[in-house]
């Protein structure tokens, strides 16, 4: 394969995650290069030049995020967001299991650029192997003088602290992550002030996703310009796309941005199970609006292209749904999830998500009434844009888009008291 690969550039074996193996594929060379020959500002310059955008979901340019931080502040914190909880997403986990050192190197490079003495990795509490792999890698890194005091014999010191989450989806939201890391229940905070100004313990803080940070060693090794040359111009680079649902070969695929969505589903992932027709695609994790099968014809894996089609590329978790699936019951899986995960801090999200789930439950039980769909829609409008964090929007977008795209199915369910697809989720 001639396309550059930032992640899938080695064969996964029983010990490919170790420091020795990682060094063989030039691990920590970027850190050496930076610490021995670059000023912190040069590292930031390369990251800015690379055009890298955050891989956690929002796609904010990483260079710009770093620019806003006052590096002269007495303390600056870095938090790596490894809470990976968006349904349909399973990429950060791969990085921990197979290439923890790549992430550690990325954290150190970011810490060097941002003048960070203590960096935190907030990792999902449920993670088992990813957590153990990360811990092993950190032990190796400390023993090799790659983390802690006077890294590589230079003046640069940085400790990396692994913090396990408690099983709350909302803690992946950056301000909630900070509240949680400070030892409280994970209530999101109002923004502004943004974490770059007042973050962890009121100090300037950068929060970046695992995949974002793990890309930085490649950028420093090859140059920001080289990274900017991969894929599409405005959303460059490669990304880890996870495909799940009704495909023959679900899994994780690294592809350049701009890669056709249809191709990743029908060629890479082997098409739809049982040779069924494609009914729908949720392109960027469960919170992003659903698209009908025919709508993905021209869509490419580029943030702009997916937005034009009416959805978002989010976390890169592509959920594929085959013909014959009951969209009403599938939506209830999501409303139940968001109702469960709403932190309860603001009324529109707390009441709205619970109410939407109750109505969906009623419809699924065959007790839907005329007007349910209209009131569901009006509740989504009442939530969107009126909450402290984006979980409110995340809860609303699936409902609004499912109703918009598959209205007849919902109307049928209400009218007949049963699914027009036998309530099937599995095909």
């Amino acid at each position: 394969m001639t396309e550059p690969r930032v992640f899938f550039n080695f064969e996964v074996t029983a010990d490919s995650h170790t420091l020795a193996a990682c060094r063989e594929r030039s691990g920590y060379r970027a850190l050496e290069k930076a610490l021995l020959s670059m000023a912190p500002a040069d590292v930031e310059k390369e990251v800015t030049a690379s055009g890298l955008r955050g891989r956690g979901g929002a796609g904010f340019p990483t260079g710009a995020k770093w620019f806003f931080v006052d590096k002269k502040s007495r303390v600056v914190y870095l938090c790596c967001n490894a809470d990976e909880g968006e349904p349909g997403t399973f990429k950060d986990r791969w990085i921990f299991e197979n290439s923890s050192h790549q992430l550690i190197e990325g954290v150190l490079l970011a810490a060097y650029a941002l003048n960070v003495r203590h960096a935190f990795i907030y990792i999902r509490g449920e993670f088992d192997l990813p957590y153990r792999r990360l811990r092993e890698a950190l032990t190796e890194a400390y023993a090799a003088g790659l983390a802690g005091e006077r890294i590589l014999g230079t003046e640069f010191c940085c400790d990396i602290i692994v913090h396990r989450g408690g099983g709350a989806y909302v803690c992946g939201e950056e301000s909630s992550l900070l509240t949680s890391l400070e030892g409280f229940k994970g209530y999101p905070r109002n923004k502004p002030p943004f974490p770059a100004v007042k973050g962890l313990y009121q100090a300037p803080t950068v929060i970046n996703n695992v995949e974002t940070l793990a890309t930085i060693p490649w950028i420093i090794s090859h140059g920001g310009g080289a990274y900017a040359g991969i894929g599409n111009q405005n959303n460059c680079g490669t990304r880890l796309f996870g495909i799940s649902g009704h495909v023959n070969r679900p899994g994780l695929y690294e592809r350049p941005t701009g890669y056709p969505l249809k191709r990743i589903i029908f060629e890479d992932a082997g098409g739809i199970r049982g040779g069924k027709a494609l009914k729908a695609v949720i392109p960027g994790g469960s919170s992003t609006p659903v698209l009908k099968g025919f709508e993905i014809e021209q869509v490419s894996l580029d943030a702009e292209s997916v937005i034009q089609a009416g959805s978002m590329l989010g976390s890169g978790g592509i959920i594929v749904i085959a013909e014959g699936t009951c969209m009403v019951r599938l939506l209830q899986v999501l409303t139940r999830f968001y109702a469960h995960e709403s932190c309860g801090q603001c009324t529109p999200c707390r009441e709205g998500s619970a109410w939407m789930d109750r109505v969906l439950g009623r419809i699924v039980a065959g007790q839907g009434v005329k007007g349910d769909l209209e009131s569901l829609e009006s509740v989504t409008r009442g939530i969107m844009g009126n909450t402290v964090c984006a979980l409110g929007d995340a809860a609303s977008m699936p409902v609004a888009s499912f109703l918009d795209k598959f209205r007849d199915e919902f109307a049928y369910y209400i009218e007949h008291g049963r699914s027009m697809n036998d309530g099937r989720l599995e095909v």
Partner: protein
């Protein structure tokens, strides 16, 4: 509790000294690993140890879903019920488990062997359906795989 206090000390030493409050969740996790489930008096113990308000720890204890506030079985089975697993048959497997164990969601078998919990996405969507038994992940599940996994557990 002196052995526990040693463990608390070791864990606390890995965080910057001015961040005592950040230790609430790590210590709750640690204590749960020791005791299986946590009570309000455990929360008070941690609060006293850290010098933070008891209310803060109690709130955290009741808010984070991974923290168990009631006794659980020797093996806690957590089955994902979210979207990608549902598309791959999670509902069928959940029914199978309920029948096999003779318990419902959130319940423990009378012999204290298994607790069955339904959880949200475990980040195993590409290898769905998935469940976690205690810490370990089990993926690409089928009825036969579940039989084999449960058989291994005493």
């Amino acid at each position: 509790m002196s052995c526990l206090a040693d463990k608390f000390d070791r864990l606390s030493a890995t965080y910057p000294a001015q961040m005592r409050s950040s230790l609430v969740l790590p210590l709750l996790h640690l204590m749960q690993e020791e005791k299986g489930h946590l009570t309000e008096s455990d929360a008070v113990f941690i609060a006293d140890y850290l010098g933070v308000p008891a209310m803060q720890v109690k709130e955290a204890l009741s808010w984070y879903t991974m923290l168990q506030r009631a006794p659980v079985g020797r093996h806690v089975i957590k089955v994902c019920r979210n979207i990608s697993c549902s598309l791959m048959g999670a509902e069928r497997l959940i029914d199978y488990l309920k029948q096999k164990l003779g318990i419902g969601e959130g319940e423990t078998t009378p012999d204290g062997r298994f607790t069955l919990l339904l959880v949200e996405c475990l980040a195993s969507c590409g290898t769905a359906p998935a469940m976690q038994v205690n810490d370990s992940y089990h993926e690409e599940l089928s009825e036969a795989r579940i039989d084999a996994i449960l058989e291994e557990l005493s």
